[in-house]
Symmetry: C2
Subunit: 87 residues, 2 copies
């Protein structure tokens, strides 16, 4: 999972994306293959959103959530569209 | 910033990474070029860590934080090494 920040930087941003406000949160928990614990990401997701809402106004309808679990890596992705002039 | 989850999936994981437990949190706030607001990510960082600590044991020394702000996109990255058999 290294180099993720490089990926962010290298992703070209077109003029459409420049006009938008967007908040993206990725949580990845990479477990050893044999190590299994309770999946806490669904609960974590709710708490993360509660924290974010202290700082920016977020409508429920503007949130897209995806959760993946494969090869011992759980990934929670929150994509939030923010109204303009938020924060 | 689309396709980030695809990037996660496509990143090859070697045997060393399989043995580790790691938690990575990325928060990216993509603002319009002309829209500037207060930088809330440093405060958000502390609160996110507090939430994560409800679920897993995290030592201060096991956290690496980086914060970037360029081209209207603020990116907060938390990399946390977890002790084995955590959670």
């Amino acid at each position: 999972m290294t180099g993720l920040l490089d990926y962010f930087r290298s992703t070209p941003r077109n003029s459409a994306s420049l006009a938008k406000e967007r908040l993206q949160i990725i949580v990845a928990h990479e477990r050893g293959v044999r190590q299994r614990g309770p999946d806490y990401l669904p609960k974590l997701q709710q708490e993360l959103l509660a924290v974010v809402r202290k700082y920016v106004h977020v409508e429920d309808t503007d949130i897209r959530v995806s959760m993946e679990n494969e090869d011992g890596c759980e990934v929670l992705e929150l994509n939030i569209s923010l109204p303009e002039n938020n924060a």
